[in-house]
């Protein structure tokens, strides 16, 4: 019989378990996709692959070994065993797989996984050295810092590349919309996608001021994402705003939620934990009523 959820605070062991569970499912799924896509050849070596060639790891036997390792580390992570070493292993595996994938010319935008495991490892090592260290708080808080940094970096990148004028580039933004839909057309042969792209681009020209406002909003959200570090309440509000932003991108540009958005949802909102606590409360309410 499963244990009932007694501690419903955001830093409780149960909350951490649900964060780990959600992150693992998502991490394993992404790693599996990247492993199946990646080939031993690195067209444009980037990062780690510039220095060390690990193409042998991406042959069929190599991929099988990586898959076994991924699964083993995931089980240990979920069971909270040897966390300091398991997290370092997860970090290294993520670095190797993502580097090889990016070196093949594919941009899965999964960068955030590696630093997430790295900072969690830092928290566990700190806790091992200092028993007064608040591990329950910092193992999630460190991860939240990395997610906030990712959004802030995206905002800074927009400012450095285009300046504040980025919000006025709505018409050229329409070209990007066409490009994304033509990506589907040239890849899958879906002619409707191209027509949809043209239709959305046309409506963007008609509502230039609205697009300007939305672009300004998203830039503001990204740049000030560090405010999500202030408190749990601010974080929840921020998460809702960011989900709205990603939904807008999905509708307008046809770009589905990538890696960063679900990771942000997991750490900012912890939806599985929220569902579980709601279920417990509903259950106790029903039992009391009876």
């Amino acid at each position: 019989m499963s244990k009932p959820i007694t501690d419903t605070s955001a830093n409780s062991g149960t909350a951490w378990f649900f964060i780990k569970l959600s992150l693992l499912i998502f991490w394993l799924g992404n790693m599996a996709v990247m492993l199946t896509q990646v080939s031993p050849a690195a067209l444009l070596p980037v990062g780690f692959n510039k220095l060390v060639h690990l193409s042998f790891l991406f042959t069929t036997p190599g991929k099988v070994s990586i898959a076994i390792l991924l699964f083993t580390l995931s089980m240990l992570y979920l069971l909270e065993k040897s966390m300091r070493y398991v997290l370092i292993g997860q970090f290294l595996l993520s670095v190797i797989i993502i580097s090889q994938h990016e070196s093949s010319g594919m941009f899965h935008h999964a960068t955030v996984f590696s630093p997430l495991f790295a900072v969690q490892a830092i928290a566990y090592w700190q806790s091992h050295r200092n028993h007064e260290f608040n591990l329950a708080h910092f193992r999630t808080q460190y991860s939240i810092q990395i997610i906030a940094a990712t959004y802030t970096l995206a905002g800074i990148s927009k400012l450095t590349a285009s300046g504040l004028d980025w919000v006025n580039s709505g018409n050229y933004f329409a070209l990007q919309v066409i490009k994304n839909y033509s990506f589907i057309y040239f890849g899958e042969g879906d002619k409707q996608a191209l027509s949809q792209g043209y239709a959305i681009a046309g409506s963007m020209f008609q509502h230039a001021h609205l697009i300007q406002l939305l672009l300004a909003g998203s830039l503001f959200l990204e740049l000030f994402c560090f405010t999500a570090l202030i408190s749990h309440r601010v974080r929840v509000l921020y998460a809702i705003a960011l989900v709205a932003m990603h939904t807008g991108i999905l509708i307008v540009m046809g770009i589905p939620f990538g890696v960063i958005a679900p990771v942000m949802i997991i750490f900012f909102l912890n939806p599985l934990f929220f569902i579980a606590t709601c279920a417990v409360k509903v259950r106790s309410f029903i039992l009391k009523s009876i």
């Binding site: 990062g47 200092n130 927009k158 580039s169 070209l175 042969g189």
Partner: protein, 284 residues
């Protein structure tokens, strides 16, 4: 408990020492392959080969290894100044500044990435293992409500700014600039019908972009940097060949394929599509 602490400390020292040895080997490999001649030549010889080389760069490259080695000695072996941790910091700052400057001048991404990545464990190791006083202050620093809550955020942003395209650091440049023109690749059969990339090929448009970049780089390098771009007909032939050699297993019912560059531009608030034939490939 005491035994466990000492044991862990020893393992950490061994791991850090091995890391630094590996790092030095990798750096040596890189340096001697690229700018090894800086160590065996005079400044006048260097300026003859590279006319714009400032003497400061020359000095920096010569100082790079000794500084790294000195930092390693102080951080890992720690036999000279056991109680004076401040001796270590100026060297570390100087080394980091040198690394950043060399990267700025020469773009040694890999070397700089590894230098900084291994410098960080050194600092951590230094803080955690070798000075009780620093341990105390480090934990106070990390446990402080404000600093602890934003420290990694700042560090990650700084590292990403210094080491773009060096995973796990990135500048997150997606949609940071909207160009006046954007292009894609399209494959058609001899009758002009679209061949969906994913139906027959193992890759997406992304890989074609990557291959375009790689092919152009290779062409320019092959011509000893005497050309600035690759002619379209050569690029097209090369990319067609790449497409054909990466087909999915199974039948490919086309005698020949044509590769087009499709660009989108903005004219009078309307998007206009232009197609340009880059190359043709006889499949059978």
């Amino acid at each position: 408990m005491i035994y466990r602490k000492e044991f862990t400390g020893k393992i950490l020292k061994v791991v850090l020492t091995l890391s630094i040895v590996v790092w030095l080997l990798l750096q040596a490999y890189n340096f001697f392959n690229t700018v090894g001649f800086f160590f065996v030549s005079s400044h006048s010889q260097i300026t003859a080969w590279y006319p714009n080389t400032h003497w400061l760069i020359f000095i920096a490259l010569i100082l790079y290894f000794p500084l790294t080695y000195a930092t390693w000695l102080l951080a890992i072996v720690h036999f000279r100044f056991p109680d004076k941790s401040w001796y270590y910091w100026p060297l570390l700052i100087l080394q980091s500044a040198l690394v950043i400057w060399l990267q700025y001048q020469y773009g040694f991404y890999a070397v700089s990435a590894f230098a900084l990545l291994f410098t960080l464990p050194l600092v951590t190791g230094r803080i955690i293992n070798f000075s009780r006083k620093t341990i105390h202050s480090a934990y106070h620093f990390a446990n402080g409500k404000f600093i602890g809550s934003i420290f990694l955020f700042i560090i990650y942003i700084i590292l990403c700014a210094l080491l773009p395209r060096t995973h796990p650091f990135a500048k997150y440049t997606m949609f940071n600039h909207f160009g006046k023109e954007t292009h894609m690749y399209e494959v058609r059969d001899i009758n002009g019908h679209l061949i969906p990339l994913r139906q027959y090929s193992v890759f997406f448009n992304d890989e074609l972009f990557a291959y375009e970049e790689a092919a152009i780089k290779n062409y320019i390098h092959g011509n000893n940097d005497t050309v600035s771009h690759m002619p379209d007909y050569l690029l097209g032939a090369e990319m067609c060949r790449y497409f054909i050699s990466n087909l999915k297993p199974g039948p490919f019912p086309f005698d020949s394929v044509k590769l087009y560059r499709v660009s989108f531009t903005l004219e009078n608030n309307k998007t206009v599509m232009h197609e340009k034939l880059l190359g043709t490939y006889q499949a059978k």
